[in-house]
Amino acid sequence: MKNNKTFLFFSSKIIPYILLLPTILYLLIFIGYPLIQAVIMAFQDPKTGAFSLVNFNILFEDFNFWQAIKYTFLLAAIIIPLQVLFALGVSLLLYTKFKGSNYVLYFFIIPLTISDVAASLIWYNILSGSGYLNKILITLGLIDKPIHFFGYAYKNMEILAIVITEIWRATAIVFVVLFAGLQMIGKDYIEAAEVFGASTLQKVRHVILPMLKPSLQTALIIRTLFALQVFAVVWILAGRDIPVLAGEAYYWQVEIRNPNVAAAYALFIAFFSIILGYIYLKMFKTRYLEAGTG
């Protein structure tokens, strides 16, 4: 092409759409179409192909479906608050900028690059019957027999192992959001609070936390959506002893080979994601408005 009236190019109207076209086509074919298919599959009788609620009937009559809902939300309810508190603590610690704080930062975000599969194996290594925790406790004489974390008979310990693994693995995601938010708070505000003699706790409570609200909201939404999809950690550490929604979808798809019921499970994950995302947005918005009037 030999057109050198260069600046006309920048205002050219079609070019951006041509540049976006590959992405849009991809989204339509590999995201949009499967999404519609997922809805159709969930409401389809696998034998006749006609509209039917048969898949949802299978779901509602399955004991494991209700267990999966229970455990998915139970795990989220235990893990997310702990992660937010832990991430907030580490953010505040690193915000003080001491010598070597950058190294602590690098270490703390290493798990961002570690998969749920690897993290599960890492903690299985520590918590198993002859794992390092049991070795240390036995050597110290604190216990005689190994503590069991795994197996159907030790369900509560399995939950504990899942919680530990998830906190180790995914707190970094919450941390990155909160730490970024913390750095955007002007030093002026905190210095002003110091001038008026605020203690560290008062600074956190009255200056930092209110200004961190948007970051907290983002972190909570992201973590909750991930929590609804929890799969590999539970599957590796507890199998179907602790059923979760994504685990059941995997089970119906890969082991029972019934993609229609699997699609119904997937729809429930999407459904809960949308509802919770909406609730979070509403909740934070009203609080923000209240803070504005009060």
């Binding site: 001491f98 002859s130 979808a249």
Partner: protein, 276 residues
């Protein structure tokens, strides 16, 4: 009570507390990592010996057996191929889109941005199940290309947003200057813009690699014979003795660790962009 240096005393105490906490936080991450490295190379008898805390004899046998007895070398190779294909596809799609977002103002831009951002939030595992049927029709069933195409949906929003923020950092004036001196738009891009953004793109590619390498649900659902490493761990390695699992954990962690080391400067900024 001496009133000479109470402030100094509390300052020292404060520093001590901060450093103690820093050591605890670092250990919380580093010790479990070190332990999987140790277990991957420990002689199994020593791992199972409850009276010995840290194994002292090491062997390559666990990793060797995992790769060549369980034949996980093939799954490892599959994972690498899928990750490289994912980089290729998501960059081919995302780079032009990122450029468009950075350089043009056009109707529908905000809607496109919103679409990309919401895609990042959406539970993509939902797509995996219907994709099996679409792939049957496209001849992509149980293929590495099929997995890579699905993994692209994870990486694409990330690549679009990162490349657009990298492009914004290159002044338009450079490109205008190039075109004034007679380069076409394509030449300008390849000879002026691309060299400037290469380090940022390399970091984005690394993150795409790690995302694909780590993904397990979609890969498990879409493949049967040509499984990626994490997908095969769920099936074969979990049924194998413990030392195999530790060796598998070690191999899963390794590329991620290398990449963190290479791209550590970009890590926080990049995750900031993807999670904002």
């Amino acid at each position: 009570m001496s009133r000479v240096a109470p402030g100094e005393k509390t300052l020292i105490l404060k520093k001590l507390v901060i450093y103690a906490l820093a050591v605890i936080v670092s250990s919380w991450i580093l010790v479990p990592l070190a332990l999987i490295f140790i277990s991957a190379f420990a002689v199994p008898e020593e791992y199972y010996d409850l009276t010995r805390i840290i194994p002292t004899s090491f062997t390559l046998e666990n990793v060797n057996a995992l790769l060549f007895v369980l034949k996980e070398w093939k799954a490892t190779l599959n994972s690498i191929i899928v990750a490289l294909l994912t980089i290729a596809i998501s960059f081919a799609l995302g780079l032009p889109a990122g450029y468009a977002l950075a350089r043009y103002i056009f109707p529908g831009k905000d809607m496109f941005k919103l679409l990309i951002i919401s895609l990042r939030m959406f539970p993509l595992m939902i797509m995996a199940i219907p994709l099996t049927i679409l792939y049957l029709n496209l001849g992509l069933s149980d293929t590495l290309l099929g997995v890579a195409i699905a993994h692209t949906s994870l990486a694409l929003p990330f690549v679009v947003l990162i490349t657009s923020s990298i492009f914004v950092s290159v002044p338009v004036e450079y490109e205008e200057a190039g075109m004034i001196f007679g380069l076409t738009r394509f030449e300008t891009f390849f000879r002026i813009t691309l060299p400037l953004i290469l380090p940022g793109l390399a970091a984005a590619a690394i993150f795409t690699f790690v995302m694909s390498w780590n993904e397990v649900f979609v890969a498990s659902v879409l493949t049967l014979v040509n499984r990626t490493l994490p997908a095969d761990i769920l099936v074969s390695v979990l049924a194998a003795p413990d030392p195999y699992k530790f060796a598998a954990g070690f191999i899963m962690v390794l590329p991620a660790m290398i990449f963190v080391f290479i791209a550590r400067k970009y890590l926080v900024a990049m995750w900031g962009i993807t999670l904002r």
